[in-house]
Amino acid sequence: MKRALAIMVGAALILLLATLTLVVMPYLQMSAEQVPPDLKPYTEKQQRGRQLYIANGCVYCHSQQPRDPGFAPGDRDRGWGRPSVPGDYANDQPHLLGTMRTGPDLFNVGARLPSIDWQLLHLYNPRVVHKDSIMPSYPFLFRHVDEAAEGDKVVYLPDAYAPESGQIVATEDALALAEYMLALDHTYPAPTLPKADKPKE
C-alpha cells in the first residue's frame, strides 16, 4: 500500500503545483490588473440578455476576444476591435471568451451593429440578412400576434419570411438579448495594453 500511496500522493502534489501556476497565480495577477475605467457594468436587462446568451449556447459559435493585430492581423482588419485585456471581463461571470468562430467575434458587436432592429431581425432568422448564414433561427424568442399591441416591438420582415397574417413581435427575452448585443462595445481605451516608448519607424 505504501507504494500505491506514494503514487497517489505524488500525483496529487504535481496537480497542486499545476493548480498554483495555472489557477492561483493568474487569478492573483489578473484580479490585480487595472480594469479599464470606461468599462460599464451591465444593466439588469443586459445581464438578463447575457443569461439568455448562455442558455442558448451562443458561445459555441462566437468568441469575444479579438487578438492583437501584430499576432493575428485579421481580427482587427475585420473590424472586431482592439485586442481585449483581462480587465475588460471584470463584470463577466462566467466568462464567454469562446473557442470557435463559426460566427464572427462579438466583443464589439454593439459598436459594429448598433441597430436594435438589425439585432432582432437577425436573431429571428439570420438568413433574412445573410442568406447563406448557418446560424440557427430563434423563432421561439418571438411571438406571432394578430396585431401588435401598444409598446410591442415589431420585427418587420420581407414577404418571403413574414407570416401569412399577423405580425412578429419580440418577447422580453429577445429584447434583453438584443440589448446585451448592443452592450458589447469595448472600443474605449485599455490602459493596460503595452505601450512602446517611441513610435515605430
Binding site: 500505491a4 505524488g10 496529487a12 484580479s31 449556447g57 476576444q65 493575428a72 471581463y89 463559426t102 433561427s137
Partner: protein, 538 residues
C-alpha cells in the same frame, strides 16, 4: 509583480525538468531494479514468452496443469467475479450514453449545414444540443466506460477481490441520475456557461458523490492487495482517480473565478479532463491489453516510469494553450506552450512501449478485436498528441485557433484514441463477466469498419476545412460569409462520418445487449475476426 512571475515561471520549469532528470538518474542507477525483479515474479515458471498464435495448431495455451497456472486462473476468475456487478452496471450505462450522445452529435452536425433543421424548438436549438452531446459522451460514455474498465482491471492487477463493489454500483446509479438531471438542465436552458462545465453546480454534487462511492472500493482493494509490484496500468488508473475529483471540485466551485481568470480555470480543467482523466485511463488500458493479448511483456519498465511521471509533470500545465492570443498573461501562455511541446516526451516513451511491444506481432491484428481496437487507439494517441504539441505553437495556433481544425483534433483524441481503446476493453471484459462469447463475429467487424471509416472521414474533412478556415480568418480580404460558405462541404462530410460512427454504435450496442442476454449460439471459442477452431489467448 514582474520578478515574482518570472521566478515562478523558472521554478515550475526547473521543477518539471529536474523531476524528470532525477527520475532518469535514479533509473540509470538501478534504484528501480527492485521493482523489476518483483515484476519478473508475476510470470509463473515456464510461462514466459508464450506468444499465442492461432496458427500454432495443437498446442493449447494453458492447460492449467501446474498449480501456479491454476492459481493464476483462479485469481483472475475471482477478481472478475468480485467486480462483475459493478463493472456491468458502469459499462451498460456507458453504452446507453454512447448512443444518446451520438444521436445528439448527429443532430448538432446536421444543424451546422442545415440551420433550419429542428429550429422551432428551444430545447433542440444548436446551442443546447451541442453541450448535451459533449457532456453525454464525456461524462456518460467515456467516464463511465473508463470507470468500468478501472473497476475490472484493479482487482486483476492487485490480484485481490474488489472490496465494497456494491458502493460502486450505487455510485453508478447516482452518476446516472446526475447525468439525467444535468442533460435535462442544459436542454431547458440552465447551463453554468463554461465549456465542459455546463452542468449546473448543484447537479455536479451528484457526480462528486457518485465518484466518491467508487473511490471507496478501489482504495480498499488497493489496501488489501496481494502483490508487491505495481504494474504500470495501476499507476495510471490510481492517478486518474486521484486527479479527476480534484479537477472537478475546483473547476465547478460557483462564484469563485470571475472574468478572465475564470477562463484559465476553465481550460486548466478542460484540458486536464483529457490529460489527467481520460488519457491515463486509455493508456493504462492499452498497457494491459496489448501485452495480455500478445502474451509478451511490455518492452521497457524504465520507459513506463519516464512516461508516467513526465505525463504527470507536463500534461497538468498545458491547458492554457486553448487561450493563445487571448486576454491572458503572456508568461502563462508560454508556460503552457512549452509544457505542451514537452509532452512529446511521455508520448514518445509510451509509443515505444506500446508499438515496440507490437513489433513482430502485427498479424495478430487480423484476428483479435480487442487488440485491433486497442492498438489503433494507442497509435491514435501518439498521432493526436504529437499533433497537439505542434498545435500549441503560436505560429500554428494563430491559424487553427477558433476553427474546425480544433474540433477534428478533439475527436481524433477522444474518439480515435480513447473510444477505440474503450471499445477494445469492452470486447475483452464482457466474455469474462457474462460467461458468454460475443454472438456474432460479423457484428464486431461491422462495428469496426463503420466507426473506422466514419472517424477517418470526420477527421480528414474537418482538419482540411479547419485549416483553410483559419488561414482565411487571418486575412480580412476574404469576407466572413465567404469563409462560412467555404466550410460547408467539410461540415457535410463530417455529418457523413458521424452517420457512420452512429451506425457503428448502434451495431455495438445491439451486440452488447445480445451479449448480456446470452443470445446466439453457445460457444467455447472467443469471437475473433477470423474464424478459428484453435484455442487462442484472447
Amino acid at each position: 509583480m514582474t520578478p515574482t512571475i518570472a521566478i515562478l515561471l523558472i521554478i515550475t520549469f526547473v521543477l518539471s525538468t529536474v523531476g524528470l532528470l532525477l527520475l532518469i538518474w535514479s533509473i540509470a542507477n538501478n534504484q528501480f531494479s527492485h521493482g523489476q525483479a518483483a515484476a519478473r515474479t508475476i510470470f509463473s515458471p515456464g510461462e514466459e514468452g508464450h506468444s499465442e498464435d492461432p496458427a500454432l495448431a495443437d498446442k493449447p495455451a494453458f492447460t492449467g496443469d501446474t498449480t501456479a497456472q491454476a492459481s493464476a486462473i483462479k485469481a483472475r476468475w475471482t477478481a472478475d467475479q468480485s467486480s462483475r456487478t459493478a463493472v456491468l452496471t458502469w459499462l451498460s450505462s456507458a453504452v446507453f450514453w454512447l448512443l444518446l450522445g451520438s444521436f445528439f452529435g448527429l443532430i448538432t452536425s446536421l444543424k451546422m449545414h442545415l440551420p433550419e433543421f429542428l429550429v422551432s424548438s428551444e430545447f433542440l436549438t444548436f446551442g443546447r444540443v451541442r453541450p448535451v452531446h459533449l457532456n453525454a459522451v464525456t461524462y456518460g460514455w467515456a467516464s463511465m466506460a473508463g470507470i468500468g474498465a478501472a473497476l475490472f482491471l484493479i482487482p486483476r492487477l492487485f490480484k485481490t477481490s474488489l472490496a465494497g463493489g456494491k458502493y460502486a454500483v450505487l455510485g453508478a446509479v447516482v452518476w446516472n441520475i446526475g447525468l439525467i438531471f444535468g442533460l435535462i438542465a442544459i436542454t431547458l436552458g440552465y447551463s453554468d456557461g463554461e465549456e465542459w462545465l455546463e452542468f449546473p453546480w448543484q447537479i455536479d454534487i451528484l457526480f462528486v458523490f457518485g465518484g466518491a462511492l467508487c473511490a471507496i472500493p478501489l482504495l480498499l482493494t488497493a489496501a488489501n492487495r496481494q502483490v508487491e509490484h505495481l504494474y504500470v496500468t495501476s499507476w495510471y488508473l490510481m492517478a486518474a482517480l486521484v486527479w479527476f475529483p480534484i479537477l472537478f471540485l475546483i473547476a465547478n466551485l460557483p462564484f469563485t473565478f470571475p472574468g478572465a481568470s475564470g477562463a484559465t480555470v476553465n481550460w486548466w480543467f478542460a484540458h486536464n479532463v483529457l490529460g489527467l482523466w481520460v488519457t491515463p485511463i486509455g493508456i493504462g488500458i492499452a498497457y494491459y491489453m496489448i501485452p495480455k493479448i500478445l502474451g509478451r511483456p511490455i518492452i521497457s519498465y524504465q520507459l513506463s516510469l519516464i512516461g508516467f511521471w513526465s505525463l504527470a509533470l507536463f500534461y497538468s500545465q498545458v491547458g492554457i494553450h486553448h487561450l493563445i492570443g487571448g486576454p491572458i498573461p503572456t508568461w502563462l501562455v508560454t508556460l503552457s506552450i512549452v509544457h505542451s511541446v514537452m509532452m512529446s516526451i511521455p508520448v514518445i516513451t509510451v509509443a515505444i512501449n506500446h508499438h515496440g511491444t507490437m513489433m513482430g506481432n502485427f498479424k495478430r491484428l487480423k484476428d483479435s478485436p480487442t487488440l485491433r481496437f486497442v492498438w489503433i487507439g494507442a497509435l491514435m494517441y501518439t498521432v493526436s498528441s504529437l499533433q497537439g504539441s505542434m498545435e500549441a505553437l503560436r505560429s500554428v495556433n494563430v491559424v487553427t485557433h477558433f476553427t474546425h481544425y480544433t474540433v477534428a483534433h478533439a475527436h481524433l483524441g477522444m474518439y480515435a484514441f480513447l473510444s477505440f481503446i474503450l471499445f477494445g476493453a469492452v470486447y475483452f471484459i464482457m466474455p469474462r463477466l457474462t460467461n458468454w462469447e460475443w454472438p456474432w463475429r460479423r457484428m464486431i467487424s461491422l462495428h469496426f469498419w463503420l466507426v473506422s471509416i466514419g472517424i477517418l472521414i470526420y477527421v480528414v474533412s474537418l482538419t482540411i476545412t479547419g485549416w483553410k478556415q483559419g488561414v482565411a480568418l487571418l486575412d480580412a480580404a476574404m469576407p466572413f460569409m465567404d469563409i462560412v460558405r467555404m466550410t460547408i462541404p467539410g461540415l457535410q462530410a463530417r455529418t457523413l462520418g458521424g452517420i457512420l460512427m452512429t451506425a457503428g454504435h448502434l451495431v455495438f450496442a445491439a451486440h452488447f445487449v445480445a451479449m448480456l442476454m446470452h443470445r446466439g449460439a453457445s460457444n467455447e471459442q472467443p469471437t475473433l475476426f477470423r474464424p478459428t477452431t484453435k484455442e487462442t489467448a484472447q
